[in-house]
Subunit: 599 residues, 2 copies
């Protein structure tokens, strides 16, 4: 970071955007709310607190897993600065509760208690005893009243935090916002700029009148240099420890280095199971369970859990323990409780810890709504989190419309960079995992059914998933098909069934799986044309979700069968029938299109 | 509710769906997680706690506003039962903090402490001292250890809560899940069904062997009858109080009755301001501020606030106080602090209180992600909340990609029933408010710009907004236009500018505002054809958001100018330029389409 970067604050293309982004500026661990601007701007508040819990969790897990009494490889503290806004957001409450439950004693949360939010004094909307709240979660709590005149009290608090062996530490620090300015102590100092006149008066008060703007004192450079040298020395020491570790603990060292190199081992893909038509059928969440458990054996960094739905999501690594301190830090199953938002942001922390961990986070697809902003931040900050979202349509049945996702797929598909998969059978599920795991800088969503799918299909394959969309079956030979079905997930089999019926009637029918829109969109135009030839305008898409977005693939003359309203509580097949997801109806729609267009 | 309804539990079309829905079954205030099933199912957890805070807030506001010492019109308590899952969700933390801040002493939260969640014992992920946490927020806290043998302790707790004059009350009740079953005290009793054998043993234990399934004891019917009679008597008394109130306080009574009748007064629409081309330009958030403040004067039920962004969202009712107890219960501005999720669910409570309140809730469009599930529940449960989301595109500038919405409009448009408006100038903003206010059973999102729009346009009007999409300008006379621009919000002016340039070149150009997709979709096919004639295939959509969904209107041959990646921190015009939102680029795109197609 150079002085020129500071001068280009908030300018397009600078390394000092309005809010720090880990992928833009070196030294930024996570993309969150604290700004390069002279003070704090409200941002995706609370995310940083949960990210910090994720970073501390990564440290505790790896330390417990790899450190030896004679060779300590992982040993750092995680510091997090939190404003009033973060303290109010629910996500920080969720994360704070988990940090204490997990006994993350090396996590230190510094609360900047400046008594002001954007709209005015915190007394407008914040009157709780925040230290008592953190104590109730199980934190060590300290209050520091004086920082502006003397740093002694603050240093003491930090030392006390360092000595804590069981609890994370919360340090409430009373601060004065906009100190020395005419805005001192008021919310006006929270955002906006200082007037030149006011800025000059502040300079006078600290005797900086003779300094140019952006002057940096030589002392600062000197201090930085000392820290750089210290850092170099520590790095050297660490590598010599690692060398010793390699010779003394070769097996553990091998695993540790896989993680250091990003977590992937050559040939890991071959661990994924395959299915054939004769295999017993399952729900795609069942296929997912098998993939996940095969992967766990070859990928030492695979770690994750669900928001109190492990048994429903089938997202549990069998044979591995639950993470907990002090007894099983090596555990690779994480119990998040019913805290979806914190789960996602903690997963971002695990991914961005940069230690080769491959986090997965599971819940029902409907509850992706609870964690939407954190999923977005996975994509923005290159965190390769794998989101496992089961119960992915009205097909979940009895739980009814509060639990039945409709528009969630559409919303997630619109998130930039995010890969959204909705596999239709076992091999497509394996393919989704293959792409998701391989893309360590991109988050993925794998949407999975609660209900059994009809069959494993001959035409699907894990390989094909990489292209996002492909031909599953086609009886038109060298000619163009009369009609194309486009589908995903549990409705793919439904289309196959309808296609069979129509083929028996002498129709030429193609079935296309559009398992990941974004990957298909990225294919060369020739490939896309080969799958969806422009001249075939009779197309029907079938997906038990919002029709939103399907027009892109179905074209102006095609039909979109989707769910246009909220779902309904009922047995799965009754609910599917109510919304038209039966083979009969799909066949009828296709026929109407072919017949109508033939006239 | 009849016995037959219970027998049809979870069956399609029954009045007893898997989770209760206020619009399906009488007597259900809000759509939330507690099930008709014999025990609790995890649902959109925590929503009910925030809904309850909204209901209690409505009561406190109306009581303070209308009650007289000799005539009490509003006086009820709000009870809420909360499970462990609700207790873990961040939204319940946010709402609990606000309930105490607002001193909602007539709110009683009963925590069903059964020590089990779906995945097992609560000790897996929940070790905080929850009573201490609620005490820290400022709640009165009570623990009840014994309920299964003797209700005395519980009754005493309720009485104690009733006597509380300043604080909401939290009652932690230790319970035994699946009592008398083989699943007693375990998470297996949380969901699924009891085996016949086990169910029979439970019957034996309570001496019900001789009862048919679904037997209801006569005592229950008798008790219900007594309560029904009590209710009738109380209703009569209340109406006589209202009659007295009418004669004694005619002015207040008139206002109260407007609320009772749903909150709308004849002619309220005429209070909305109008703008003409010569008026000074503003950001659409500025136009919104004027609309909101004009409406506040004629709509006594208009009440709301923002999540600590009142000044940025310009969502503040000037001349009205902030709600607070005991000093200003009549205040119609609500300070939510930085708690978006609770804000939305509290707004649902305000709307579903059924007392004519018209709640608005404001934040930046990007933070709609924090409250997504509650917005969905507004739509599902017919709560006419008005969501005011400003800073609606990359046009917000310096704050950068963490603050710049891209995919949010697409995601919200996909939510069933929700009306999403993105007005382009003053009159369209007024039109959006007109439709939003009129639809008391449907929630609305009004997306507004931070930056000034270029101009108030001649061709826009508040009336036209009702149709969702309409022609703003066209120079093709009786002929069809060569090209159609489709746009919304701050980009509408940009299209007008490009259209002018092209018209000067002799082109026939139409500009269409697609201010609310859903309303346009509902228009008769003839109207849609008149706005977007099928034969005009040269179309360009211009919206500074995800392209997702635009293909529906632009057709297979049209061009979609959208934002395909995350935004960037920079001055507004620089950022707009980077993503192609300049008059030059829009004109160029249109020209390329016309020229290419002419070949």
């Amino acid at each position: 970071m150079q002085i020129e970067d500071l001068k280009r604050l908030c300018k397009l293309g600078s390394r000092t955007p309005g809010h720090p982004e880990n992928v833009v500026t070196d030294g930024i661990e996570v993309t969150t709310e604290y700004g390069f601007q002279y003070n704090v701007l409200s941002g995706p508040l609370g995310q940083g607190v949960a990210n910090a819990v994720g970073l501390a969790l990564a440290e505790a897990h790896l330390a417990g897993r790899f450190n030896k009494s004679d060779a300590v490889l992982v040993d750092h503290r995680t510091y997090c600065i939190m404003g009033d806004g973060c303290a109010m957001e629910g996500i920080s409450h969720e994360a704070a509760s988990l940090a204490a439950h997990w006994k993350l004693n090396k996590l230190i949360l510094i609360y900047d208690d400046n008594q002001n939010t954007i709209d005015g004094s915190t007394t407008l909307a914040f009157s709780e005893d925040i230290s008592a709240r953190f104590k109730a979660y199980g934190w060590n709590t300290i209050t520091v009243n004086n920082t502006h005149e003397d740093m002694g009290e603050f240093k003491k608090a930090i030392l006390c935090a360092h000595n804590e062996t069981e609890k994370p530490t919360f340090i409430k620090v009373k601060t004065l916002i906009g100190k020395l300015s005419v805005k001192e102590g008021t919310s006006d100092a929270h955002h906006g700029t200082f007037k030149e006149d006011d800025a000059n008066k502040m300079r006078q008060k600290v005797k900086w009148e003779d300094r140019e703007p952006f002057h940096v004192f030589p002392m600062v450079y000197r201090e930085m240099q000392i820290h750089t040298q210290d850092g170099e020395r520590l790095e050297k020491e660490w590598y010599s420890t690692l060398n010793y570790y390699r010779s003394r603990y070769p097996q553990e060292a091998a695993e540790f280095e896989i993680l250091l190199n990003g977590g992937l081992v050559p040939g890991w893909e071959s661990s994924l199971p395959t299915w054939s038509k004769s295999d017993p059928v399952d729900a795609t969440r069942g296929y997912s369970e098998k993939c996940l458990n095969h992967l766990a054996k070859v990928l030492p960094g695979l770690i994750g859990g669900s928001a109190d739905l492990a048994s429903s999501n089938k997202a549990y690594l069998h044979g591995y323990k639950d993470f907990s301190l002090p007894n099983s830090p090596c555990g690779r199953n994480i119990r998040y409780g019913v805290r979806e938002h914190a789960m996602a942001a903690i997963s971002n922390g695990l991914a961005l810890h940069g230690s080769g961990l491959i986090p997965f986070a599971a819940t029902f697809l409907i509850f992706s709504d609870y964690m939407k902003n954190s999923i977005r931040l996975s994509a923005l900050s290159h965190a390769g989190v794998i989101y496992i979202f089961t119960h992915d349509s009205i097909g979940l049945g009895e739980d009814g419309p509060t639990h039945q996702p409709v528009e969630q797929l559409a919303g997630l598909r619109a998130v930039p960079r995010l890969l959204v998969f909705r596999p239709g059978d076992g091999n497509e599920t394996a393919g989704a995992y293959r792409v998701a795991i391989a893309n360590r800088d991109v988050p993925s969503v794998i949407a999975l059914s609660r209900q059994k799918v009809d069959s494993n299909l001959d035409g699907t394959s894990a390989d094909s998933v990489e292209r996002g969309g492909y031909i599953v079956s086609d009886n038109s030979g060298q000619e163009l098909p009369e009609i194309i079905f486009l589908s995903t997930g549990s409705e793919l089999c439904l289309c196959e069934g309808s296609a069979d019926t129509l083929r028996k009637e002498g129709r030429k029918v193609r079935v296309v799986s559009l398992v990941c829109w974004r990957l298909f969109d990225r294919q060369p135009i020739e490939y896309k044309e080969s799958v969806l030839p422009r001249r075939v305008v009779k197309r029907v898409s079938v997906e038990a979700g919002s029709p939103h977005g399907w027009r892109e693939y179905v074209g102006a003359e095609g039909l979109v069968l989707g769910v246009e309203d909220f779902g309904a509580s009922g047995a799965y097949l009754d609910t599917f029938k109510k919304f038209g997801f039966t083979q009969e109806n799909v066949t009828k729609l296709a026929r109407s299109l072919v017949d109508h267009q033939s006239c």
